[in-house]
């Protein structure tokens, strides 16, 4: 089970609060571009949660404890979210703010081993707490709490999320 449930609940609360503020602040923004349906309920902030050029992972929802990667990382062991919690096998959600067209590819094992957990396109986000989870962190089953390494790859995998 998740070892830091309270941190996650707290992080999610922060994310929800920030989302609410942003939605209020942007309610008068310009309409969607032609041919595209952008509904108010779909508004999710990007920039504040993952800085320019970074690939970000979160302990819970967007806006919760974060670790930002600028390059590939072969092993999350030893990396910590900004609340001190270890990153390895505790990635819940992810955001990609690449400035060079790099996809974020997350793997079950270190050194990009064990198969692909999921991948995120430039500008894409996999939004909080809804990746599948079997409740056992790091056991290679499900997608949440499983990632152990990140590889930046040029954008060729069109099935990545955006």
């Amino acid at each position: 089970m998740s070892r830091n449930l309270f941190a996650r609940i707290g992080g999610t609360a922060v994310a929800v609060a920030a989302l609410s503020v942003t939605m209020l602040a942007t309610s008068a923004s310009a309409g969607p571009p032609p041919g595209e349906d952008v509904t108010p309920n779909d508004v999710v902030p990007l920039g504040p949660y993952c800085a320019n050029g970074f690939h970000c992972v979160f302990l819970a929802g967007l806006g919760s404890a974060r670790h930002s990667y600028f390059n590939s990382d072969t092993n999350f062991a030893g990396d910590t979210f900004d609340d001190g919690t270890g990153v390895n096998n505790y990635v819940w959600s992810a955001s990609n703010s690449s400035t060079g067209g790099y996809e974020s590819h997350y793997y079950y094992g270190a050194n990009y081993s064990g198969g692909l957990v999921f991948c995120v396109n430039p500008g894409g986000e996999v939004v909080p707490s809804e990746l599948t989870d079997d409740g056992i962190d790091g056991n290679g089953v499900g997608r949440r709490d499983e990632a152990s390494s990140l590889r930046l790859r040029p954008g060729t995998t069109i099935s990545c999320f955006n």
């Binding site: 942003t22 939605m23 602040a25 942007t26 923004s29 969607p32 595209e36 349906d37 952008v38 779909d42 508004v43 999710v44 902030p45 990007l46 920039g47 800085a51 320019n52 050029g53 600028f70 390059n71 590939s72 703010s97 690449s98 400035t99 060079g100 067209g101 790099y102 094992g109 270190a110 990009y112 081993s113 064990g114 198969g115 692909l116 396109n121 500008g123 894409g124 986000e125 996999v126 939004v127 909080p128 809804e130 990746l131 599948t132 790091g138 290679g140 499900g142 997608r143 590889r151 930046l152 790859r153 040029p154 954008g155 060729t156 995998t157 069109i158 099935s159 990545c160 999320f161 955006n162």
Partner: protein
């Protein structure tokens, strides 16, 4: 929500031996199926298919969709990057595309739903790219690329939510390739991903798969490296952070998969499970192919004009 359906055959003649006058048509039909299957393995772009286990039962259909027409997928990616470059240039900004700067072709991602299948998959991946360019980290740059942070297109599957920028050059490029079908494309990707997950979960309750796992377990005990199943084994070995190529248990895993035919059974059952999931919503496979073709058509035009 995707639902499981049953596609087992149950016609009145299923269990009866065909009469002599029926044998020639049946042989011809089988020959046609075999030739069709063989032809499907020859990729028109000459791309190398992913490694297949011995007695390959055929690729699970969702994985086949993901790997459908890699040349088209490459064209779409290149066209997308060129559109982003042009759009950023109009804003007076230079976009350095990792894809267009790369020498050679990136290795395709390989699905490993039952753990490693060959010794090369035990080896660490030797690949180090140049990474992000820190000189581009300005707010104006990100705004031009992705638009305002509060303008997003979001889709939901049964369990997950995914979003991408609604404005900016990345969104503009995607809109050029997909027209008003961008949301559906995003949705299809999420639903296929979830269907693949569901199918993998379905296999866990399949009796033939259980039998194959028991045979694998027996083989592993005989090798002196007992384990519950290949994924549990892989997880326990990954925790040691060692080179898997030097790990006796991982080598035994590969040997036992070969000796017991584990992967053949596993992939056969996964193929059936994925087919069930796809059959529950035929629009997924149809829309994936249709929207891939649409993007490729636009990409071909763009790349021809750009020459």
């Amino acid at each position: 929500m995707l639902q499981l359906t049953d596609d087992t055959s149950g016609g009145p003649g299923d269990s009866q031996s065909p009469g002599r006058r029926l044998r020639l048509p049946i042989v011809l039909a089988l020959l046609f199926v075999a030739l069709t299957a063989a032809a499907s393995l020859v990729r028109p772009d000459g791309a190398t298919p992913r490694p297949a286990p011995p007695d390959d039962p055929g690729e699970p259909p969702i994985f086949a969709l993901f790997e459908h027409d890699p040349a088209a997928q490459r064209r779409i990616s290149v066209a997308n990057e060129r559109l982003v470059i042009d759009c950023m240039a109009r804003a007076g900004l230079r976009y350095e595309s990792a894809l267009l700067r790369q020498d050679g072709e990136p290795e395709p991602e390989q699905q490993q739903p039952f753990g490693p299948e060959s010794p090369d998959q035990l080896a660490p991946v030797e690949e180090s790219g140049p990474g992000e360019d820190p000189s581009l980290g300005t707010d104006d740059y990100l705004l031009a690329l992705y638009g305002p942070g509060d303008r997003r297109v979001t889709v939901r599957g049964a369990r997950m939510r995914v979003s991408g920028p609604a404005e900016g050059c990345v969104a503009e490029a995607t809109r050029r390739l997909l027209g008003d079908k961008r949301r559906r494309w995003m949705e299809v990707k999420v639903l296929l991903f979830e269907a693949a997950e569901d199918a993998r979960h379905d296999v866990e309750s399949d009796e033939e798969f259980h039998r194959a796992t028991r045979q694998w377990q027996g083989c592993m005990r005989g090798a002196g490296t007992p384990a519950e199943d290949p994924l549990a084994l892989l997880d326990s070995r990954l925790a040691h952070q060692t080179d898997l190529r030097e790990d006796p248990a991982m080598r035994a895993d590969l040997q036992c998969k070969r000796d017991t035919g584990y992967l053949t059974t596993a992939y056969t059952r996964l193929t059936v499970a994925q087919r069930h999931r796809l059959n529950a919503d035929p629009s997924l496979a149809a829309d994936w192919t249709r929207l891939l073709d649409r993007q490729d058509s636009v990409a071909r035009e763009l790349l021809t004009v750009g020459r």
